[in-house]
């Protein structure tokens, strides 16, 4: 249905429920929807399952959500980073559950969730710890693991610019998980730096068509800190 424009990030995430699965865009800090996460912390929903590439950096964004004790489980490819101390502490004290998924398989499972694919056979991870307990099949002489879709109740993503119909463009490698996450959640909320009139984004360059976006909110200006390696 039609995309709406929320006046504030708080309004945009007001209806997230306890126990929701939340897809959170970003790769490290690039593409992380800080405003929406901050609003989600204020909103108070808990017992969340978070799907994101990492498990938070430093004290801001996803790390702050974890620190606030709102997350029951993280599904990600790379939780352990130089500045993932919030997650590390929760994990080591047994206060958070972790499912590690190879990065491309994570992206593909989210895509499958949005694309109506029931499951897919993937060669990545076959014969490793991460395939334990999963169905496998040999196809064309190669071992494959059966992987199931990942869907969210909510997706929180950051894009660069939107038009009033919800068409999105991203900026550089901040694109990362946004486009697939936008297809795979019941409610998709995007924070953007700019909202322009329909027709002001060249239709050839739209990355996420508005059909996938439920709510837009203008992001607060924010200077991102660039983290170091890892």
């Amino acid at each position: 249905m039609i995309t709406t424009i929320a006046a504030t990030a708080d309004e945009a995430v007001a209806d997230v429920e306890d126990g929701s699965t939340v897809l959170v865009g970003g790769f490290g800090l690039a593409g992380m929807p800080f405003d929406l996460i901050d609003a989600l912390i204020r909103q108070g929903a808990g017992e969340l399952t978070v799907v994101s590439n990492n498990a938070g950096n430093g004290d801001a964004g996803l790390a702050a959500l974890l620190k606030a004790g709102r997350v029951r489980k993280v599904i990600c490819s790379f939780p352990r980073q130089s500045d993932s101390y919030v997650f590390d502490g929760l994990y080591r004290s047994g206060r958070i559950e972790l499912e590690v998924v190879p990065q491309g398989t994570l992206a593909e499972r989210i895509r499958a969730g949005g694309a109506g694919i029931g499951a897919f056979y993937c060669p990545v991870g076959a014969g490793t710890l991460l395939a334990e307990g999963k169905e496998t099949r040999e196809i064309d002489g190669r071992a494959h693991v059966l992987e199931y879709p990942v869907k969210g109740d909510v997706a929180l993503i950051a894009a660069h610019r939107a038009d009033t119909l919800g068409n999105l463009v991203y900026r550089r490698t901040a694109r990362n998980f946004g486009p697939v996450m936008a297809t795979a959640a019941t409610t998709v909320v995007a924070q953007v730096t700019d909202i322009v009139a329909a027709g002001e984004i060249d239709p050839e360059t739209v990355v996420t068509p508005g059909i996938h976006v439920d709510r837009l909110v203008r992001a607060e200006a924010r200077r991102l800190t660039v983290q170091g390696a890892r």
Binding site: M1, I2, P209
Partner: protein, 227 residues
């Protein structure tokens, strides 16, 4: 038009004192049921004509499975661009806020349940909502499915637009489809010249009739019609 207005839940409205709907009236009738802000795919053929009846300010966005949202009306004259056609390969136009994407993304959108509504033509619809619209079953026919099965499975609501009877008078709303299926139990509503029907496990509920009473239709159809 003489309408017998009934309270909700009081059974079907029988529009009598008039004939069945013309194709144009049927297209307009379907258009009225499409909610503002919907994303809609209109199948090749008659459903295309529904576009003419959608209110321009309702924010309804048309999808064409060959890779576009925000499709505008058919193109004429200089507006014809061989690179811009609809799924029926008819030249069309682009509206402000359109987006182009490739075929895999377009059908992912469809199969993933992102379209609110699609409207398809049909050879037959069964009382249980099975759809047959891709193959007559004629052994000499060249099979060709296009996007029909993808639409039938993918859209949140699959509406059918068809005449209720063939030219020979045979009903197209049937107990069981005789033509090869496009999809099973996928049809939410059937809009026909003689009435609007909701197929389901307990039979076919009649929402409205045009130019005939429910009783008259009951005699012509072999399916259980529920008031």
């Amino acid at each position: 038009m003489t309408a017998t207005h009934a309270a909700p839940g009081a059974g079907p409205v029988e529009h009598l004192g008039r004939g069945p709907l013309t194709t144009d009236e049927l297209a307009a009738r379907i258009a009225r049921d499409i909610a503002p802000g919907s994303y809609v795919n209109l199948g090749i053929g008659q459903p295309t004509r529904i576009a003419e009846h959608l209110p321009p300010d309702a924010g309804i966005v048309l999808h064409t499975e060959n890779g576009m949202l925000g499709m505008g009306p058919a193109a004429d004259g200089d507006a014809i661009d061989p690179d811009l056609t609809n799924a029926g390969k008819v030249p069309v136009t682009e509206l402000p806020g359109a987006a182009y994407f490739h075929h895999a993304d377009s059908f992912a959108m469809m199969r993933g349940g992102h379209l609110d509504v699609c409207v398809l033509g049909a050879f037959e619809v069964s009382a249980h909502g099975d759809l047959a619209n891709w193959h007559t079953g004629d052994p000499d026919a060249i099979p060709a499915v296009g996007g029909a099965m993808d639409l039938a499975v993918g859209a949140r609501e699959v509406l059918v637009m068809m005449r209720l009877f063939t030219r020979d008078g045979a009903p197209k709303l049937v107990p069981v489809c005789t033509c090869p299926l496009t999809g099973s139990g996928c049809v939410s509503r059937v809009y026909t010249d003689y009435g609007v029907f909701v197929p389901g496990p307990d039979g076919v509920r009649v929402l409205e009739t045009y130019g005939a009473t429910v009783e008259e239709l009951r005699e012509l159809l072999a399916v259980d019609l529920i008031r």
